[in-house]
Symmetry: C2
Subunit: 382 residues, 2 copies
């Protein structure tokens, strides 16, 4: 590690790829005979394998949660604020495992990877995956790594939903679940926004029914729109106000359709950058996984009954200005956990940063999340 690396970073990291040669029976009833998972690890697995923490990523995330790929790398992993030496997920104590989910577009088996049966990219034929499927796949990864029980399974947003599902589906394989900025299921409004994003992609003339790889083109415009809509829901009205207000790019009205307000410029930029780095078929799959997530469904719509399956401790965190998954959605989880007698710590972080806050360096968040993880570490004997 060069001295230009920040001291509280895990520093240089390298992804690994695991071929899991076991059939995975998916919720949609298809079976994947084998699949690949790309993942990164930070920190060291202790002798009794008690200090492993699984990081679950959200909609547009991947396995690169912390550290840098080279000394020239300008951007660290997406959760650099929370993973590293001395950080809430303290890599001096924990062995952190961060996979790219099945169906992703950063190396794990997914639409852009080759379907071994055809020799062509899976594209739109990649099966629909759900949060439950991810848990199964991540459990296979744990098996391969020799991790019988996670000290904690941790995630924000869609990642938090995976942590919840882990606690329900594999109650003996984790001691703690950390569910940040999550919800027990999507609201009609959440689904509606996802549907707009999907329609933007599906109707992009360059989408070609998802076979754009064969046409040497990309449904970039659809992905840009999808990301713009998504991005609005990640920021609070307040955060947008303090970031941009009604500031004009040129100082005066242009009376045209070029960028007029700074917020327009920002959104277009975000959309364009995203469309260069993310696969449209994967985006579609991820939004569907969100829509389908509803662990109470298997228990006659009783969240209490679903969470009664769990045996771990819980940390549930929410952010006051998050209007995508507001604190009330987290409280539904907390209330159910309390009703079924589980040990749950709830932190409602006061911030204007909206849903995106779970990625940011916010003192109160860091402190409360960190305190809980210290307890997790102490129990793990590290």
């Amino acid at each position: 590690m060069r001295d230009k690396m920040p001291a509280d970073s895990v520093g240089l990291v390298e992804p690994e790829k695991l071929h899991i040669d076991r059939p995975l029976h998916l919720e949609c009833d298809q079976v994947l005979p084998s699949h690949d998972l790309v993942y990164e690890t930070y920190g060291t697995l202790n002798e009794d394998r008690s200090n492993a923490v699984l990081i679950c990523h959200a909609l547009s995330g991947n396995h690169h949660a912390a550290g840098y790929y080279s000394t020239e790398d300008k951007r660290a992993g997406w959760w650099e604020n929370c993973i590293g030496p001395g950080k809430p997920i303290d890599t001096n104590r924990f062995f952190v495992v961060s996979p790219n989910n099945l169906g992703g577009c950063h190396g794990s088996s997914g639409p852009p990877t080759v379907n071994p049966d055809t020799g062509h990219p899976w594209g739109p034929d990649f099966p629909m995956v759900t949060v439950k499927d991810w848990v199964q796949s991540q459990a296979m990864l744990a098996d391969e790594l020799g991790i019988e029980q996670w000290a904690a399974v941790v995630g924000g947003s869609l990642g938090g939903m995976q942590a919840m599902q882990w606690a329900i589906d594999c109650p003996d394989r984790l001691r703690h679940a950390v569910v940040i900025a999550g919800a027990p299921k999507l609201s009609a409004q959440n689904i509606a926004f996802n549907e707009v994003a999907r329609q933007a992609i599906l109707n992009d003339p360059n989408f070609h029914g998802g076979h754009y790889y064969l046409y040497d083109t990309l449904p970039r415009q659809g992905l840009i729109l999808a990301r713009m809509v998504g991005h609005i829901t990640y920021l609070s009205d307040d955060a947008m106000h303090s970031k941009f207000g009604r500031d004009l790019r040129s100082g005066r009205f242009q009376y045209g359709f070029d960028v007029e307000f700074q917020v327009e410029s920002y959104l277009r930029y975000q959309g364009e950058a995203f469309s260069r780095n993310f696969d449209a078929n994967t985006y579609l799959l991820m939004t569907k996984a969100l829509d389908y997530f509803d662990p109470a469904r298997e228990f006659a719509d009783s969240l209490d009954d679903a969470l009664a399956q769990t045996r771990c401790g819980f940390f549930v965190g929410s952010f006051t200005s998050d209007w995508r998954f507001p604190p009330d959605r987290s409280k539904e989880i907390v209330n159910s956990l309390v009703s079924v007698g589980r040990d749950v710590s709830y932190a409602e972080i006061d911030t204007s940063k909206g849903h995106d806050a779970f990625l940011l360096n916010i003192e109160q968040y860091r402190r409360l999340f960190g305190a809980y993880m210290q307890r997790v570490a102490a129990e793990a004997g590290v």
Copy 2:
């Protein structure tokens, strides 16, 4: 009127068209030498012309605010809930004038109408119009109709913004301004949603730079997406929840990209219906008029100074679950009006229906809005 017409409807109505042969100097610095306005009227102008009420429509509205076009007509005008005999805008007392705004797509001069200089549809060359421009154009209509002073100028959402601008720009020409579900200017989030809608339209391959009329095609997909995004912001999360929840169309998950949840079906239907009845270039213009609206701007960003220009009484109404223009935005207007000593009645209507509530039949809304309009009628001597 046939007996199948509801007794509290204005019944059969017919639009009229007025050619205004006076130059209109627009804010964007272009001049329209003449323009057409289509409008409807309901009720009777009294002898001293004191009972005229101007209705200003919102983003997707038009001049057809009340009544029916034929006895077979299934849908009444868009504000049938509030305009008619015995309704808040009581046509037994008021003479109601409801124009289609300049730049619209229902008969007034706008992108789909013929540019007299070229003999072709204006399309994207129709000049950018603003709320101030509409006030000017509506004032010309008032001149032609011989109405020196409106008993009230009334509108919801973008329509309420026009009422505010009337009060500022033509203080002697109205006795009351009714501003429902409005805001003193758009927030960055509001602008962001408009920008998504515009990008969806501008990037539709059938948009052809706005010249789609010449290609015998329509940017329907873009307009559908624009409307879907808009529609989400018109409904509250609660309203969507009680309307659809997570109800499935087929009763079980399909694991595909066809409609899965009822809310998806509803949004697609709304988008498609809208795309058959609305012009994409007009939609672009209307969203820009919203973005530009900011009466304080001319007064060094002081809303107090802007509203100090006014001389009329005000009714300001908001809806608790409106997250597009929440009650706090209306209170900004009310607070400024109070600071400059204006007479203002504020009603915050308790409803779960979101921004759309301004169009609906809600008892408390009808009662408070109606009480104010009765006062307006009494002052008008009708």
